[in-house]
Symmetry: D2
Subunit: 334 residues, 4 copies
């Protein structure tokens, strides 16, 4: 039995608790939040669980094996560091940390202590992402050309992070996972329309090794909600619309291929426009699978693929994005 | 009666001829193309018109008042220069010229000769753009925040221009017209996936005066065709989907406003989420109106709003975009 | 405080319990189901509530004021009759009863005992239906022409009722509520494709007083899920798509009107095609409002508009539908 | 060379002329219309063709082999009869005739004279219908369950025919062609909302041999245009949306099958919910293929599948529909 402490019981915390509690060899033994409302809600649903307001009770408890950190990103490093120092595995909300430096320190600490870090990039466990990953890995999509993602809506203006740190971790972690390529450089633009300095709209280009380009459009000021990702490959192209319940994924037998790779100029391409295919996408809860995977990684000493390094790669791109925006789009190498 | 010569009878030329011929006080007296197929097609439909293969017959003809130039952009400058030198008004395809320098020379020449230049930014005459312009000008939209346009499809790879010069003139001219603000700088990224050096995907950010940002996504390698423009304002937000026949324009009573402009920090915004309204959009042919407007500008010595300066502003942004892409996204001031 | 007993804790029962428990002056004191699974689930969530398997404990309990009957329709009459006989108000799932006769008996009994019957036509409490009702009542829609509803999907084949009794009560109750007209006759067709005699597809036409027609298309064998209702009026037309989260309701300024009502022949109509308008639709939980309304009707001795007579009108149409289908579409007068 | 005369040059006639003129071994030698406007339009496009206002010049001309009849349905019988009597093959607009009796007489006359009748059910030559036909014939769809078609819009109110005779011939001819089953009976409802007696909304159920049901919803008073046909089969289900340019056809691997065909009761079904597949649909002009097929049938003495009998079957269903509507939905056997 693996005992967990969950720190943070706001919007996402209840889902984390529910899913870990649903695993036979795991149990959430303590839930911590500093807000009375949250504690009351937790108590109502889990009358037998230890509900506390001081997270040190979790961080120093000898009966707790792993800590789920579901707090604002600015608090991640301190909590995670203490958890690791006290021998606890961590399951930590995205984005991993506030800086590359913090992420690197946590990874180093976890390695020294032989502990697991899992960064909660929940989307990687959705049926849609798993299906796309499979289509890329089995060669269906062919050589990749681009990743183009739009994640916009009338969003909650955060007080401490801009739209990039709020929304882009989803797309960056998905792109990192699917493409499995080194990000070479970032060029990004954006704007803060209101009195603070936090961008509410941003456009991020990531150059990846192998002539690959990724672009992410995030916006808190869009009248319509869009969650759409396009992936272009030489054999097939994929459109993933996460807002529809059916046919989230469309695979198009459509594209161009250079007619003859040796002839230099002029370019001649062959166009292909065939069937479209919407593969059935698994509908199970992503967080459930991720929670089970975390417990499995601990119980069987496996290295999670969404480990600290995965989180670090996203933080590197976020940091570079922010620096590029401040310089009006300048290319920032990673 | 204003006599026109039309040079170029490929894809767009037939529409230009048909629409000018539909105007009572205008007549296309000569059509020129260097391809036999095109000439044959023209002859079949207009048996009484002078169909020729040497455009000098138009450029030097004393009976021709105005020349419509519907040829590839690389030929625009030479043809336009000769037309102006010979005292002819010009109606010229977008993009206006291949360079800022060429555009400036043509404008100067036209002013010296007191001739009209109209750049065929057809979209400015569509019901959708006219309606948005009206909503901005009458204050319905309120202060503007951003312009975000996506124009992607499985497009014809051009041999001489990249996706930016092919598709972005539409969005840049629309943005220039609607926002009526100075473009200050451009930061753009893109990639050429094939053997030539012509980008097939590009992302353009234009910074405008007054804390405004515009972004344009153009792509020849998209499995789905998208023509969508979003405009964010403080009172209303507009989504224009040009691919639907009904309800092209949606006006959302949705947005945020700073709660109290004096309090510095933290930011507090009020959210508004009300009705949506799809105003009826005029369905007449845009090119018909534009052709009539050109004839009217000549007949009544009016200055067209889509004149050489309008074309020049677009060329400046295109040039800056290209330079920025080559430098990986660097900010290029205009 | 009004004490409730809830009989039936399958799919819908938990929602009923949760919503009644959320009302300050109401409390669910007993929950009954004959399935062990259901009882266990109830016990987990409501450890302090009396969880039982014999509904007579509710029906005869002196401390219970009202009974919510959330069981299969075949059991409605017996349970409802006993509840009423024992002086309890009833909140009863749609469809009200299995027959017109049963419905009439329950109404009579309730009137004699001065008790409330509320038939759970939940849709009447949705923001969409309330908004349409308002648009009809305030004259926005104008004189009504037709009601046309499609409710199809790959549905669960029921063992005891056909697709008409399963799905059509929604549309019939909505139509009855919105139009507030007498149903005069029904003509319906349908087919049972499998071994039993229960139709899995059906088409129902209801003729209403005042030259009004309603049509309902229900189907358990549709590959796509559709929930769409169109309402035609002389001033406006409404399309309600219940499957989208935004813009569920569209009001079209579109229609025809006879040009001159006196001239007999030939018909001349004026076409109107103007703006479309998507009014904001309230998003609160419909069942929550309905539950509050039930408690309010009891506490303040009000007559619910979705009372036994409302349920009876639906049952009359369902019975007529079934009879018409069996006769291949014959007109059945009500 | 087969010489044609085309009678009727209104909305559809120009398409008929253009397509027959595009066939190498066919030529439209005469075009007839009684309206001066139509004649003028024809003369402009076909200056060398014989343009006339008295159709007898076509019907009695010895140099004309075949007559295309593109006139209102009320005139079909007289024109077609004279054409056949004078030894001409006929290509005739849908609906074939105004009555079953007329259709039967024309068929008899054509057979006696050994002439071809082709009824212009253009939809049968679209890529979408051809693809569905292929999927049915090669067993992909499996045993058929139902055909459900919606064809509604804000339509032109006709003065001489109701919405059934205007719109339903499309759906009835498609259903007849695809299912290739005997229509056994019709039950239909509808309503005329205005002063004349012509229904502007109608709902048609056709019972076919083999436990098959077809339903058609036609409406001239719909705020939105819908052209959607669903076909349910035991192996696959098809949704055809004719208003989208891409992915008109969707084939769903979704459905139910009786679990065990011997066990009588209760019904147990297995649900299947797999991939969706949008086969590429041929985009060529349907009328072009149909015109070529007509010429081919004449030149090579083939029997067209859309012959007089095909037209007659549709007329039988239209007549039955009208009779059923007048009786409020009564079942009319064919």
């Amino acid at each position: 039995m693996i005992n967990l402490g969950v720190i943070g019981y706001g919007y996402w915390g209840p889902n984390v608790v529910r899913n870990f509690n649903g695993i036979p060899n795991a149990e959430v033994v303590s839930i911590c939040d500093y807000q009375q409302n949250a504690l009351k809600r937790a108590k109502n649903i889990y009358p037998k669980t230890n509900i506390i307001s001081d997270c040190r009770e979790i961080l120093f408890s000898p009966r707790i094996d792993a800590v789920a950190i579901v707090t604002p990103v600015s608090t991640h490093y301190d909590i995670a560091r203490q958890a690791l120092e006290n021998g606890k595995h961590i399951f930590i909300e995205k984005p991993f940390t506030s800086s590359v430096e913090q992420a690197e320190k946590l990874i180093e600490l976890a390695e020294k202590k032989n502990l697991k870090i899992m960064v909660d990039h929940t989307f990687l466990f959705t049926g849609a992402v798993k299906k796309i990953k499979q289509l890329i890995d089995d060669g269906t999509i062919g050589d990749l050309y681009y990743f183009d993602s739009t994640r916009v809506n009338l969003g909650l203006f955060q007080k401490d992070v801009n739209v990039v740190w709020d929304l882009a971790p989803h797309d960056l972690s998905i792109m990192d996972y699917l493409f499995n390529k080194n990000a070479v450089a970032v060029a990004a633009t954006g704007m803060a329309h209101f009195d603070n300095d936090l961008e509410n709209v941003a456009y991020i280009t990531v150059y990846l090794s192998g002539n690959l380009i990724a672009h992410i459009n995030v916006n808190w000021l869009s009248p319509v909600k869009i969650r759409m990702t396009m992936i272009g490959g030489c054999k097939k192209m994929v459109v993933w619309n996460d807002l529809v319940s059916d046919e989230k994924l469309r695979v198009y037998d459509r594209g161009v291929e250079p007619e003859d790779k040796v002839s230099a100029y002029p370019l001649r391409v062959n166009y292909r426009s065939g069937d479209m295919w919407a593969p059935k996408v698994e509908q199970s809860e992503a967080l459930k699978e991720e929670a089970e995977y975390f417990i499995d990684c601990i119980a069987n000493d496996k290295k999670p693929f969404n480990d600290g390094y995965s989180g670090l790669r996203v933080i590197k791109m976020l940091e570079a994005t922010e620096r590029s925006i401040k310089k009006g789009g300048e290319l920032v190498y990673l």
